[in-house]
Symmetry: C2
């Protein structure tokens, strides 16, 4: 469904809601996919969305809840009758239901679980016990597995009796303790000799991940090997679920959004910008901004130290923003390149020394190019002495900024911190402080005596 | 394979290469996956990697070539015998082979294609005719499709005779002109009544994408609907391929890397930072840096305009870096939030006015918080008048920076340009120029008369 079609659906729903035309609303919704209804809900009031959810059959309502933005989901869900929510969530896969529960209060979760049958209840609770950002937190427990002594024919019969694992593409082969010993694509089941044992036709060299592995590591494995699903085992090697490649897409999107927010010195929002509250936005931005004010106090102190020089040659101030910005800009470039490369795994912590020398060379060339641009500006605004001081400062500041920007993410990674904490604003502010000191001490050395 | 295991493999390969122990090398490589060999190759010289590729069976060599970073692939591949490359690429899926060809020179491509059989040649050439960033550029032409009048039993027989489409999970149903009319999961084939026609058991409401659709739109569809594969049709609705969810992961990773590089004001590198050449890095960074120097000339001009004020109250300079940085930092925050939200589809161009008011409120609060922090600094370094001027400037500058940062990506998107062009350095530099003007004109109004 295109953006325009979605806008039209939203408008039609709003229209039907305003006219309290329940029949038309029901008719409108009947033909829609849950993903599209959820998208429309983000443009409605919570009570309107609740009205829609109550009209939908439980399985559709469940999927709409699942597709909603977490913040909206919490707001909308808790206003519904727990019995309605329970029916809706029973229709979902257990891992989807567990994700929905994550945003509900403990009381509401308990009252919803109270309406569920013990089996559904059990598998959802089990999933909720894993960390949300671990393999267990993103896997589905619905796997198609059989004992290795099963024959291919028996496996086909079993598959025919298995309900509703529509999306499976692999059959996992296990030993008597359900430990994972093999894997085969479903298609091979259809093309193999019916009398052979699964142990003989399956691929024995199975790549799997542990249930407590970090979701990012699991995602990188799926990305690297191009699997459509990766089996997940517990500490004993027992098969407990699988992570599908479409779940991995969500992990990458989520992790990247977090990384980009950090690079912009915003603490992770965990919701869309549209749905973030005023307070959430304020709190997630103010901390870094105020911290950076304190970093910048040092630049003021540096300037105060050279007060006499500035009084003597006020023209020096003209170039101050230009020079410190250039250091910050080249630093932001270097930091962004390294942060992303560390995140994708293109660069590892051990590659630092290999990259350092090239960065020195690149930043020297960058600095010289920019120095050439400002030299003539210096001549025009002041004199040859100032022009030389500004140009030399530019080279030094760009090299300093670049090395700072490329090193900071490595240092953070080395100490097991998130490299993305080396945000563009942090690098810029640090480069500015050092830039002020470099500029004014160079200017002082070159002009202080002549003019002072 | 973990990072450590990979490092060990690299070391063992290097060791065997140094000792020219071909037997040991062959033994080492026999047990490895192509993905892991490719990873090791990135730490070897091109000629060493060539030596390895010549030792490998053609199908493994093909996969290693495919997994290599594009820059390394070009270097390594073109040094090989075109006949060897041709055999290796024939073993790949056509879309993988087409991707590999992308980095080769026209001459080398032709000489490799010369060794291929006409059928493989044709399907690879067809794929190479699509734009690399379109659905056609990322799809695989290997789809399992049957006519809608086929019975379920016949379909199962056909599947049994179909070679090596291991990874398929859907059967696509087409009419006599191969136009897509239905879809069904493979599993349903096993569980349906054998006598029924595919037309009756397939899902008729198929979501598909057009072969010339942008890869990003296709990726968002797969993400939204959680498909493991999306069928691709041409302008006539004829089925021509499918895009798998693991291909979508690569699209998202690639697009995000580009976005982050743009946000850091680096032009897209299209290769890993480790493999980028000195010249590539220099050229992709220098353009923005020099452009930003020219933006910053205006801040110098602003300062020159207030030269007398600065000479009278030098203390004003102390706060200059702090104030302009704060505007840039809040602007970077706002820009990063909006750029990412526009990329994920959380925010659309039409949401601007909805977000504007909240941004005014949030940035006012941020500005007041930061003004409180600098007020005391102003008192300490100068006097109450300077402290007031600095605090008031802080509020205005933070609001200006935030609104600039949030608006610029929207404006770019509105004019069909990439919102990520509103990089942190661009926003910072523009905010700095405006910040200088705001600060000095406020200071001039409040102090100019008293001190001048």
């Amino acid at each position: 469904m295109t953006t325009n079609e979605n806008n039209r659906l939203t408008a039609q729903i709003q229209d039907a809601l305003e006219q309290k035309d329940t029949e038309r609303l029901r008719f409108l919704l009947r033909k829609q996919r849950p993903e599209d209804i959820a998208e429309a809900c983000h443009f409605l009031h919570a009570y309107e969305c609740d009205h829609i959810l109550e009209l939908l059959p439980p399985d559709v309502a469940g999927h709409v809840l699942y597709e909603l933005d977490p913040v909206v989901r919490g707001e909308v869900g808790e206003m519904l009758d727990p019995r309605v929510v329970s029916e809706a969530l029973t229709a979902l896969a257990p891992e989807e239901a567990a994700d929905v529960f994550e945003v509900f209060s403990d009381e509401f979760t308990e009252s919803v679980l109270g309406y569920m049958n013990p089996e559904a209840y059990g598998s959802i609770e089990k999933l909720m016990s894993y960390r949300p950002d671990s393999a267990g937190g993103i896997m589905t427990p619905d796997v198609f597995w059989l004992h290795e002594d099963t024959s291919v024919d028996e496996a086909v019969y079993t598959l025919q009796d298995t309900e509703d694992i529509d999306a499976i593409s692999y059959l996992y082969v296990v030993d008597k303790d359900r430990r994972l010993t093999g894997v085969m694509p479903l298609k091979r089941l259809i093309t193999s000799d019916g009398n052979r044992k699964l142990a003989d036709v399956a691929t024995r060299d199975v790549i799997s991940a542990r249930v407590d592995d970090d979701q990012e590591d699991v995602a990188h494995m799926v990305e690297k090997y191009d699997f459509s699903a990766l089996p997940i085992v517990d500490a004993q090697g027992v098969l407990v679920g699988r992570v599908k490649s479409d779940d991995v897409i969500d992990v990458f999107q989520e992790e990247t959004t977090e990384d980009m927010q950090k690079v912009g010195s915003v603490m992770p929002l965990n919701t869309s910008v549209l749905n973030a509250s005023f307070t959430a936005l304020y709190l997630r931005r103010v901390v870094w901004l105020v911290l950076l004010v304190f970093v910048n106090i040092f630049s003021g102190a540096g300037i105060a130290h050279y007060e006499e020089l500035i009084e003597a040659v006020v023209a020096l101030v003209f170039f101050l923003p230009l020079l410190i910005d250039s250091g910050g800009n080249s630093g932001s470039q270097a930091a962004t390149l390294i942060i992303r490369s560390l995140a994708t795994g293109d660069v590892r912590v051990g590659d630092y020394s290999r990259l350092l020398l090239r960065e020195v060379a690149v930043s020297l060339m960058l600095g010289l190019s920019m120095a050439a641009a400002v030299f003539f500006l210096g001549l025009y605004r002041a004199d040859i002495q100032v022009a030389l001081a500004v140009s030399l400062s530019m080279v030094c500041i760009v090299i300093m900024g670049s090395l700072l920007g490329m090193s900071l993410p490595f240092i953070l990674a080395r100490f097991k911190m998130d490299p993305a904490t080396a945000s563009a604003p942090l690098v810029t502010s640090m480069a500015d402080v050092l830039g002020v000191l470099i500029y004014l001490s160079i200017a002082n050395a070159m002009l202080g005596i002549a003019n002072g």
